[in-house]
């Protein structure tokens, strides 16, 4: 039991950025734009967040990482606009445009780091975001230890985002319109919805969330932005989105599951009935579990019908 208590906070640490980015993907895909650029947007957000934190920390040590998160978000929005312009206005293939963004992000962040810091990574920030404990709540037996002791604030931000996403997508007129654009944009347009505007909104929100996820990841888990800081988390987020069937709760579950599987791979050698497996088996564990879960539970994972399709007003 105590081993589970040790594992859960670590799982949450892994899960928070995955879920944030996957929620970003949710907005974009629900509006009808496939966004495989999550990885690249996370890199840009991570770079911007880390760079700003480095610069601001000497001036305002407490606020700097929070401003960093915000700037990471803003940078994500700006970067995602490239995807929006290419795939909405210029009707480019969304997968190609997303791939281009991923490749661009690698070069762009290293290039900017070279300009600002004269090296291929940002300088190291001194603290970044710190873990915190919530007085009062931490004394609740079991739950207090899991959720309220030594936990990164980004975990709570992530929970709020899940709730917020559910509310916005399923309980507001905006969400209804967004989903309509992802299912049948021509029908949505016939009802007077501006499909272009809605899709822009979807992509920009996804940029904001993925940028936030990237900066949260760097500021909580790293000491600087390097080109390997994100190392594929954006693609795991994409998998969580599909695994979670494009729903905020599904994404929450899938992200948590992935985080837990990752943590399990490190604790497996201390758990007697798993300890006989070779090391390598544990490293592939998260990915194998994801595939198994996809096969077993997914059945038909049906995404938004029009996602990935170029919007053609004349199509019936």
């Amino acid at each position: 039991m105590s081993i589970i208590l040790d594992m859960l906070p670590i799982s949450f640490m892994f899960a928070a950025p995955i879920i944030m980015a996957a929620l970003g993907g949710l907005f974009s895909e629900r509006s009808g734009i496939v966004n495989i650029a999550l990885e690249g947007i996370m890199m840009v957000g991570g770079f911007a967040g880390a760079a700003l934190t480095v610069v601001l920390e000497p001036v305002m040590p407490g606020m700097a990482p929070w401003i960093g998160l915000f700037v990471g978000m803003a940078a994500g929005v700006l970067f995602s606009l490239l995807h929006a312009v290419a795939s909405i206005n210029f009707k480019a293939d969304q997968v190609v445009s997303g791939t281009a963004l991923n490749i661009l992000a690698t070069g762009l962040t290293v290039y900017l780091a070279q300009i600002f810091f004269n090296q291929q990574r940002t300088r190291t920030f001194s603290a970044g975001l710190r873990k915190m404990s919530i007085e009062g709540l931490r004394d609740i037996p079991v739950l207090g230890q899991i959720f309220f002791e030594d936990i990164y604030p980004t975990f709570f931000v992530m929970i709020l985002l899940v709730l917020g996403t559910w509310f916005v997508v399923f309980k507001t007129p905006f969400g209804l319109r967004l989903r309509a654009c992802g299912e049948h944009p021509q029908a949505a347009a016939s009802m007077g919805i501006n499909v272009y505007k809605m899709r822009y909104a979807g992509v920009m929100i996804s940029g904001a969330l993925a940028g936030l996820a990237g900066s949260a990841m760097v500021l909580t888990q790293d000491i600087q932005y390097t080109v390997t800081s994100i190392h594929g988390t954006g693609f795991i987020a994409l998998a969580s989105l599909i695994f979670g069937k494009w729903s905020p709760w599904g994404v929450l579950g899938a992200g948590m599951f992935f985080g837990f599987a990752q943590t399990l791979s490190y604790y497996a050698k201390d758990i007697s009935f798993l300890a006989w497996l070779p090391n390598e088996a544990f490293y592939i564990l998260p990915y194998v579990l994801t595939i198994v879960a996809l096969i077993m539970f997914a059945g038909k994972t049906v995404g938004p019908k029009a996602a990935g399709e170029i919007y053609d007003q004349g199509k019936r």
């Binding site: 040790d6 906070p9 670590i10 640490m13 892994f14 070279q114 004269n118 090296q119 291929q120 190291t124 001194s126 603290a127 970044g128 710190r130 873990k131 990841m217 909580t220 888990q221 790293d222 000491i223 600087q224 390097t226 390997t228 800081s229 190392h231 988390t233 990752q262 943590t263 791979s265 490190y266 604790y267 090391n279 390598e280 544990f282 490293y283």
Partner: protein
Amino acid sequence: MKYRTILVALLAVALVFTGCAKKDATPVVEKPEFKVGLVTDIGGIDDKSFNQGTWEGIVRFGGAHNLVQGTDYKYLQSGAEADYVPNLSAFADEKLDLIIAPGFLFEMAMGEVADSFPEQKFMIIDTVVQKPNVVSATFAEHEGSFLVGVAAGLQAKADGKSVLGFLGGMQFPLIEKFQAGFEQGVKAVYPEATILVDYAGDFGAPDKGQALAQKQYKAGAYIIFHAAGGTGNGMIKEAKERSEKGDIRWAIGVDKDQYTDGQYGDKSAVLTSMMKRVDVAAETVSQMTLDGQFPGGTVMVFSLKNNGVGIPDSNPNLSADIISQVNEYAQKIASGELVVSEIPAK
């Protein structure tokens, strides 16, 4: 009409360039006819790691012989892995006297280029390429790791802690050398200590490093030594965070002096670092080549004996007493009195 203007423009440009070339040709100082080139990996010469270290060694060598940067000693930055072969070949075409590439990433490219230019002399750092015209520089990582193990053991003993940790990137013989040396170093001064060992399975994943650091620190580890590249960043982050809150934990850096990476406020959570002196390797081999003793086809091991590994010159976090004991062990190993095994005890 148009063609003529273009022709005139081209002539003008050509004139400007020939003018430049003439100016450069005037000899400045007496110096040996020797040219050395460094091909960097995608990190670049300011990566605070292997590329930078190697370049510093070459610059030192160049300075000692009045060589001119840019003509006698120079570097080519690789933008991608695909640039390794063309960059090495470019220097080989220029017939430089020694061409250096740092890091195991160059292994394949170096083998290929060494075959195509059998007359040229090459040096590869931190991996082995078996060709008659390539000298491979490797490091006695286990010896350097022994020293940081001694430092960690003494520090833990002094502070009354008994658990230490090792965090590896991936488990294969090279990284096990770090583990083996560290364990023996700790045991030499603190036989009762327990050492937790974990491998992340990744060299570029700070989140995994932080997860394993949390695991080890929760299990009581006081000091963790990492041989995990970027993955180790997450471990340093965790050490910083805990130390900042008053729960003092230490990290030990690897390859280069990571003191500044561990800085929080005016302190640092990095106790010391296990340095591979790539600068010493590059300088030594350049000198040997200049002296006509290029050790082609051999593997040169840079150990404590020739200052190829060790702890940084300045260690603000270690007491003078610990440093002197570390130095005693360094001398014992250098003199051959103490032999460090490369294989971890099972």
